[in-house]
């Protein structure tokens, strides 16, 4: 028997556990509904001179503002609770008896927890956005993908931290709580960073935050700080290449944490 079949067995089992009926259907319903309900072109109406890129960015951000939390809850549940309960119940030990390397087992689990969730989220939202505004989606597809990439970086970073915590503690509860706290904390931290940046008239704090959550760099790339020009002389308008660097940097951090998770799962996890 090749390695493909056991991998598919583990993947199928993980998908079955992560998306029990009707989880998949509820999330699909919410993503589809959320796209139309949350999409807002209001920013674009009042900024008639806005470029098409800025319009695509504004619409995508308006969608993400509400629906990202639904996606985050799904991946947090899958990573922390799903993997945690598999470790607690001894299901992972059963997988170890398969003719499959440990990293293959973790890949199957992550493909189910993150891959399927991402596919569902992006597939439904971008298709629904295309139905709504094809003349924005098609010409500005790269901007839309870039906006999603920038906004998904931080949730993926938390997922990697939760994965590590779940593997080290061998239970998902604490990891789940830490994940939710970290997700909420970013809004507070970014608020503080914004005020520090205004007070010091230096974008350094915003740049540091952008390395972890590059959606801020993208926000300033499209919007700048024009709204606060009366409060402070702070200006930060990162170029597209700078923004891409922030996004790339954040994904390097995410990838490094996942690699750590893989190393721990393959070599250090004694079950």
């Amino acid at each position: 028997m090749g390695k493909g079949k056991p991998f598919l067995e583990v993947l199928a089992s993980a998908i079955h556990e992560d998306f029990r009926f009707p989880f998949l259907e509820i999330f699909a319903f919410l993503y589809a509904l959320g796209t139309f309900v949350l999409a807002s072109f209001t920013v674009s109406i009042y900024t008639q001179t806005a470029t098409n890129e800025a319009v695509a960015y504004a619409v995508t951000t308006s969608l993400l503002s509400g629906s990202l939390i639904v996606f985050v809850l799904l991946i947090f549940k899958n990573v922390a609770y799903g993997l945690g309960s598999d470790l607690e119940k001894g299901i992972i030990q059963t997988y170890f008896s398969y003719p499959l390397r440990r990293r293959g087992i973790l890949t199957a689990k992550l493909l189910s927890a993150l891959g399927v969730s991402l596919l569902l989220f992006l597939g439904i939202q971008i298709s629904a956005l295309y139905i709504l505004a094809p003349d924005i989606v098609l010409p500005q597809f790269s901007t839309i993908i870039l906006t999603y990439a920038a906004n998904l970086s931080y949730p993926l970073l938390i997922s990697a931290i939760m994965l590590l915590m779940t593997l080290i503690l061998r239970r998902g509860g604490i990891g789940l709580v830490v994940g939710i706290v970290l997700y909420v904390a970013m809004n507070i931290v970014s608020g503080i960073a914004f005020f520090v940046a205004l007070a010091t008239e230096s974008p350094l704090m915003l740049q540091i935050i952008s390395l972890i959550s590059p959606s801020y760099a993208l926000q300033y790339h499209y919007g700048g700080l024009s709204g606060v020009s009366e409060l402070s002389s702070l200006t930060w308008n990162p170029t597209l290449s700078e923004t891409l660097l922030y996004i790339g940097g954040s994904y390097v951090i995410v990838a490094s944490l996942f690699v750590l998770g893989y190393i721990y799962f393959s070599r250090r996890l004694n079950l």
């Binding site: 319903f29 589809a32 319009v55 709504l132």
Partner: protein
């Protein structure tokens, strides 16, 4: 075989869930944001334009026009073009309008000639635009009279398009889900 039934079945139920969401979106009624009606005369070879209005995929325009005489009616996307500060009009005369029409044919949404006639139309763009309504009197001697009602309508999605997709997707989803549902029902019966 059972795995394929599961995959197909869950894909089907997901499709049904998406169809339900689309159907729900399509039945949410439109809201009238702004409505106004006005009438005016347009002198021979002259142009009359309304103020510009931001339209987007969730904000369309309904227009009812009644013309006495002959008029060309245009709905144009003027983009970032600013109106003349003195007249408040986007086009000072027919020549300037013609220049715009020749250079920006992709910005013409409607281009109709009405001769003692009327029309009632609804338009929702698939992008963000800055639209204006233009009446041009092509006659060299007769004055034309126009009455028009403009209504800006807001909706979550283009209802007909979304409903059509829902109507197609739901039966496909049901067909895909039937074997999986039957399988589940049989298993439950056996237990």
């Amino acid at each position: 075989m059972k795995r394929w039934t599961n995959i197909l079945g869950r894909s089907g139920t997901t499709l049904i869930a998406i169809s339900l969401a689309l159907f729900l979106v399509s039945i949410i009624p439109q809201i009238d944001l702004i409505t106004y009606e006005t009438s005016t005369t347009v002198s021979p070879e002259q142009v009359y334009t309304t103020g510009s209005q931001g339209l987007n995929p969730q904000q369309g325009i309904q227009l009812k026009v009644t013309v006495e005489g002959t008029l060309k009616v245009y709905l144009l996307d003027v983009g970032s073009k600013k109106p003349n500060p003195e007249t408040g009009m986007f086009f000072a005369d027919a020549a300037e309008l013609q220049e715009f029409l020749d250079s920006s044919s992709n910005m013409i949404i409607w281009d109709d000639e009405l001769d003692d006639d009327s029309f009632d139309r609804y338009y929702v763009p698939t992008r963000v635009m800055n639209a204006t309504l233009v009446f041009r009197n092509p006659s060299s001697s007769e004055i034309a009279y126009v009455e028009f009602d403009v209504a800006l309508k807001s909706s979550l999605a283009p209802g007909d398009k979304v409903r059509t997709i829902a109507y197609f997707a739901a039966p496909i989803g049901i067909i895909m889900a039937i074997p999986w549902l039957l399988n589940g029902w049989k298993q439950r019966k056996q237990k």
